[in-house]
Assembly symmetry: C2
Homo-oligomer: 222 residues x 2
């Protein structure tokens, strides 16, 4: 086990250096980079479509769609009005900082105010690989269960924003939002929590408001 | 990217060699090893409890509960009557063949007829790392969506059995079982598909029958 862990530490250190470069680059561009993470089927693409709907009139939006090897989501997101690039991880379970940097170069950051990376559906690996994002936004959907902070603690620890998605299905699942919030906050006191439904659109106004605030801050910095 | 891919191939080759050893060992013991995989919240533990309920009277069951670092599930499964060991992957997103072998040694295979490994909740990494299982059983839950075979094809390609779980929630989700089956079969013609609900217990009899058949076959081989 020891050798494996040492290899991993080296990989993570290299990754952190690459992420720092991206962070600096985004500051220069005056654009905000958001790392969107969650399980398969948690609703990442649908959440993205809701956020594009609310931000599209005022901001220019870029999206990097990371997939193991499909392009199901990229077409939908492009139709919603964002500048889109499809990234294939060729079997890898996460995006790393270097792949993200290449993605940003290929997408072209010029003129964009906010760029979302829709990460691979996974609660483990993406939590370990910093991509140089300004904001880490994770989804936990109601059908997944309110025990997930206990099982995948790192993801909740490193995220800035947590959306409880699919709240329209609360009547059919034993999901306690209070308990889930308490478990997430025990890991990460400052995590901002929003219950939403990407199906009905409920709850997205305050999430969009938070993003607007961050975009404006970044513009002033640049 | 090239270096990364070469490293990965080496890791996978070493893993395959370790998996082959486990496979031989299980044949000698006369026990069946099942690799249980699925997304976070797909219902792996609840499915396991249903299968234990149906098999417990006739067979001695062992369970290896792999978790990133919790032991939420191990207690529940032990209470259901299985011999249980908790495995911590220390942040890794999958179990590999070597970790599985250590787990089997620690659990003690003597006297057991069937051993389940509940893998880390993830549709990517566990598909790449063979553990030496006799049967790969994956879950796709209705709330995750019927497009998942398109997005995580490897998992569907390498699985022997696919359970569509949470069918009690079909009325609230746009999930087409026919379409999902067709997409899974396009990747893997011989995959056996069963719609189930671990909440209500519906649909588990044929799954248990399949496992009984495999256990009996293994006993004859040993």
């Amino acid at each position: 086990m020891f050798d494996i862990l040492e290899t991993k530490e080296r990989v993570l250190a290299d990754n952190e250096a690459a992420a720092a470069l991206t962070r600096k680059k985004m500051e220069q561009f005056g654009a905000l980079l958001v790392n969107l993470m969650g399980s398969p089927g948690a609703g990442k693409t649908s959440v993205l479509l809701q956020l594009i709907r609310l931000l599209n009139a005022d901001y220019r939006i870029g999206v990097m769609e990371a997939d193991v090897d499909s392009d199901v989501d990229a077409k939908t997101v492009e139709a919603a009005g964002a500048r889109v690039i499809q990234l294939h991880t060729a079997g890898l379970c996460h995006m790393d900082a270097d792949m993200t940097r290449r993605g940003l170069d290929a997408l072209g950051t010029d003129g964009l105010d906010i760029i979302f990376l829709e990460n691979i559906g996974n609660l483990v690996c993406p939590a370990e690989f910093e991509i140089g994002a300004d904001l880490r936004l994770m989804l936990l959907s109601v059908p997944e269960g309110d025990d997930k902070p206990l099982k995948y603690p790192l993801m909740f620890s490193i995220s800035d924003v947590l959306l409880f998605n699919k709240i329209d299905t609360l009547p059919v699942f034993d999901f306690d939002i209070g308990l889930a919030t308490q478990r997430a906050k025990a890991l990460n006191e400052s995590i901002a929590v929003f219950p939403v439904s990407a199906k009905t659109g409920e709850g997205f106004e305050p999430v969009a408001a938070l993003l607007r605030e961050k975009i404006e801050q970044r513009r002033i910095q640049a």
